[in-house]
Amino acid sequence: MPMTLTQTVVMALIQIVVLLAVIMAVVPIITFAERKVIGYVQVRLGATRIAGGHVGITGPINRAMWALGRVPVFSILRGLPIFMADGLKLLTKEDVIPEKADKLVFILAPAICMVPAFAVFAAITFFPGAEGLFTFPASFPIVGGLKFMGFLTDINVGLLYILGVASVGVYGIVLGGWASNSKYPLLGGLRSAAQIVSYEVPLSMSLLVPVLLVGSLSFRELSVKLATEMPLVAAVPLFLGFFFYLTCGFAETNRVPFDLAEAETELVSGFHTEYTGMKMGFFFLAEYANMIVVSAIAAAFFLGGHYLLPFGLQSQLIHALGAGHALNQPSILFFVGKVGFLLFVFLWIRATLPRYRYDQLMHVGWKFLIPVTLVNLFIAAAIKFVWM
């Protein structure tokens, strides 16, 4: 059914609003999960209550959470309301702008950091099927009978768009560090710039492996074909590329163990030292949104995306069982599960590894990752030449 212009616009708006709402809901939950996972790894309990104890306004909530502590695994949900408290705190804090700061750039920097992080989601495919996630009932005023697709757009240069837009985010960090007019933010911003420029190269080259194997840049086509149309040997470059990509992804998102831009022990808190209130909150939002993007790309290209098996092994299952089998159907649950697991890996790594020194970071970026990703690319090219 062809859509009218009004229908197209309204449908796109609905999808954008739903997508933004989901991201805005997931990001605070990740911050909560970070406290809990790191707490459990360090044999603590993490956040278990909110302010006020067993009396007062928050008393009923705290008593309910205390009762929840008896339930074995669900006790991890104790302290969940703390993300609302965190958000309220960020929104109500005083917004300080340093006197000597460059005011325009200082205010612009968090936006430059956050907007690309959210814009990247436009090209990510959450469900590849043409049938969409669900269909609006015919009783709906404008969008009745239309399908709610699992992706916002399916442009044919999706991956290029993601890489291009995501690397704009570093301008926010550099400009924020520079506009603060203070030495620690400046050092943090410069470090971040050098780090991201270095790691952009191996990141792109590890992502070239799926692009080479499929011969397309569209996110949807890549994620479907990487799972379903790969020979068995293609699992080798995809398996290696996954780890290279994840390493570069950690460096790109400024996460531990590559969080040299923030480096509390050296640079106070790096590029956002002078930022307060919701401006700092925007930097945090961007960081966690970038984590989701990196996880989504790794899940879609290397871990089989919307299908069950990772590294292109799903195509072997399709050969064995036939395309109609229940295990061979794409599902958004597989994708969400893989993204969730990768986000957990982000927190797990953060709780495990200490921060690397700056020279170690640069050494491993230029002297190790770029050569091995080149070799990996060569393996993929050979496979493409011989087997496909």
Binding site: V37, Y40, V41, Q42, V43, R44, L45, T48, G53, H54, W66, G69, R70, P72, V73, S75, I76, W348, I349, A351, T352, L353, Y356, D359, Q360, H363, V364, K367, F368
Partner: protein, 164 residues
């Protein structure tokens, strides 16, 4: 190639195995089992487990007949580095030993060194296991033998614990 040692995959995998094991243990077995895996105490709800030699507030002991064991030798008063103990000697009918008519203890200056308990030859004072000693008034730190804030029982003030 020394810089590559820091990125040894087997080392990283070993570290992640250890932290993953800790995460699994606490996730599945923690939270108020008999033997909790986590090291922290959920303080206001669960009372902290104290070592037997924990030094809390100074307390006077009575013997089986309900008699105060203190015999006013003034050893504790003399040894106290901050001089927070004041004893006034007295007599009591039917008691051979001297009897303290007053035993004043100024807790706000006490440093909980336990010298008084060590110097006591009659085991008549101990440091109990009470650690919730905060109050809103200075007067509540002055303890004597009479009144609600006395030397024989735990302080009624500063109880934040809601232990089951």
């Amino acid at each position: 190639m020394n810089w590559l040692k820091a990125f040894n995959p087997s080392d990283i995998a070993g570290g992640m195995k250890l932290t993953g094991k800790r995460f699994r243990q606490v996730l599945f077995t923690a939270n108020r089992r008999k033997v909790p895996m986590h090291f922290v105490a959920e303080y206001p709800e669960v009372k902290v487990k104290l070592a037997p030699r924990y030094r809390g507030r100074l307390t006077m002991i009575k013997d089986e007949q309900g008699e105060i064991k203190c015999v006013c030798c003034l050893a504790c008063e003399k040894i106290c580095p901050t001089q927070v103990i004041t004893i006034i000697k007295g007599k009591k009918e039917g008691r051979k030993m001297p009897f303290p008519t007053r035993y004043d203890f100024e807790m706000e200056r006490c440093i909980f060194c336990e010298f008084c308990v060590e110097s006591c030859g009659f085991d008549s004072i101990i440091l109990n296991h009470q650690f919730e000693l905060a109050t809103y008034n200075r007067e509540d730190f002055s303890l004597g033998m009479e009144g609600s804030e006395n030397m024989f029982e735990n302080s009624a003030v500063g109880k934040f614990s809601v232990a089951e």
